[in-house]
Subunit: 248 residues, 2 copies
Amino acid sequence: MTERRKTPIELKHVPAHMCSTDLRLEILSRVPFFAVLPPHDLAKVNQRFHEKGFSAEEYIYYEGDPAFSLFVVADGRVKLIRHTVSGKDVMLDLLTPGEFFGSLSHLEQELNAETAQAQTNACILTIEKSEFHKILDSFPGVAMAVLEITSRRLNAAQEMIRQISAYSVEKRLAFTLLRLADKFGKNSDVGLLIEVPLSRDDLAQMTGTTTESASRVLSQFHKQGLIESGRQWIAVTDRLALERLAGD
Amino acid sequence: MTERRKTPIELKHVPAHMCSTDLRLEILSRVPFFAVLPPHDLAKVNQRFHEKGFSAEEYIYYEGDPAFSLFVVADGRVKLIRHTVSGKDVMLDLLTPGEFFGSLSHLEQELNAETAQAQTNACILTIEKSEFHKILDSFPGVAMAVLEITSRRLNAAQEMIRQISAYSVEKRLAFTLLRLADKFGKNSDVGLLIEVPLSRDDLAQMTGTTTESASRVLSQFHKQGLIESGRQWIAVTDRLALERLAGD
DNA sequence: CGCTGCCTTGATCTTCTTCAAAACGTGTGG
DNA sequence: CCACACGTTTTGAAGAAGATCAAGGCAGCG
């Protein structure tokens, strides 16, 4: 119930359009599915990638456009969105350095199934679909790791379907906050701070509800002492209570 | 508006607990990710599989149980379900011969994320997780095909999230009927007949709504001349109108 | 200091769920 | 072959959850 309201998030991401080339190798080595490679092979893989900087809010690609490349987040946060005819967007995922997105399929003619947008200033590594498939063919361990990650994402998506189908907005928001805290949480003086600039609207898009409903539920959470929050930031202050609420 | 109401679905599946061993090889060769294998290798793969018959309604495994195996539908229909605390189940998928389910991860200790239940009498091929991974290691083409299928399923799950988040029950049901018609549809004298015994409750579980709401919407579709239906069966009679309604 | 965009809160309205009961079909056993 | 019994489907009425509409407040920034 404290009245701390200034944003505690420090965005120390790269300036837009400035990815350090020197850091690429180090970043690639931390990508889960390249971690299996010996240094020599990793260096070869590195050469196939290009890098590109994006400003916060900038679009990386659009749903429906032809899909040419696979992307890897090197720095910053990237959100994946699907649009709807009514203009209500749905956020499918929020990515952190080391995660990939874009097209996996080797089919030509494929279209992007979602829109990718930089949530913060971001540095993105890209590789042509065909180049990436050469890597998959050369290093079966990489293919297995990609499969493993894709399976986990499928599981997460199906879990989301269960949630939206059967649980209240309150439960879903509690659940979403817990996931975000796991992925982006960092201990700070306001509690377990979620280190991404997240608006009420973002939360709404992640839980399948409206800005207003998300705001109402968060206000209630705050009254109950479960969270601290302000403009574009949220911190979890009572994780156990949130878990009880999410019913997990 | 005709009054044809007798079930037109003929279930000519194997009797329960009786899978013909002779047909296994033929079935495996039609599994998309084994289709890439030459006959000799396929025969070797075949030896690693076991078969088991299930009666309609019988459970194959339960959500939360330890996951030991990967499964392939040889004959019949299998549904994948997630349960909820309120008792409202969510159907994630309805599988047809050639499709796989169960555990892909090589992690021990993994638990089933969903329940698998035979929707009709069914014959299921099973293989130990570790055995399947030997196959993946030996035949990279198989691993790539599995990755491709998993990606498509991820895409389908994410599309479902968009639907449930943003569209009305009416739109979602129209969309679900179209998908079912694509996968299970067969031309018949009542229209494009969906060849699975599907109750209103099944449809509700697939679209994230209740039995009653599903029934109401289907009644309306029937009045509009879009479908023909009866107890546990549905046929699409006006595909174009349904597509218009689904807004695709 | 005022502008812009985000957040909050209230009031109303729509959609869908819930509860209840009746009608129907399908398979069964007489 | 018919009648009964069971599970499925339909329909109505009431209620709840959440969406929508609207207005005001607050933070951060130029």
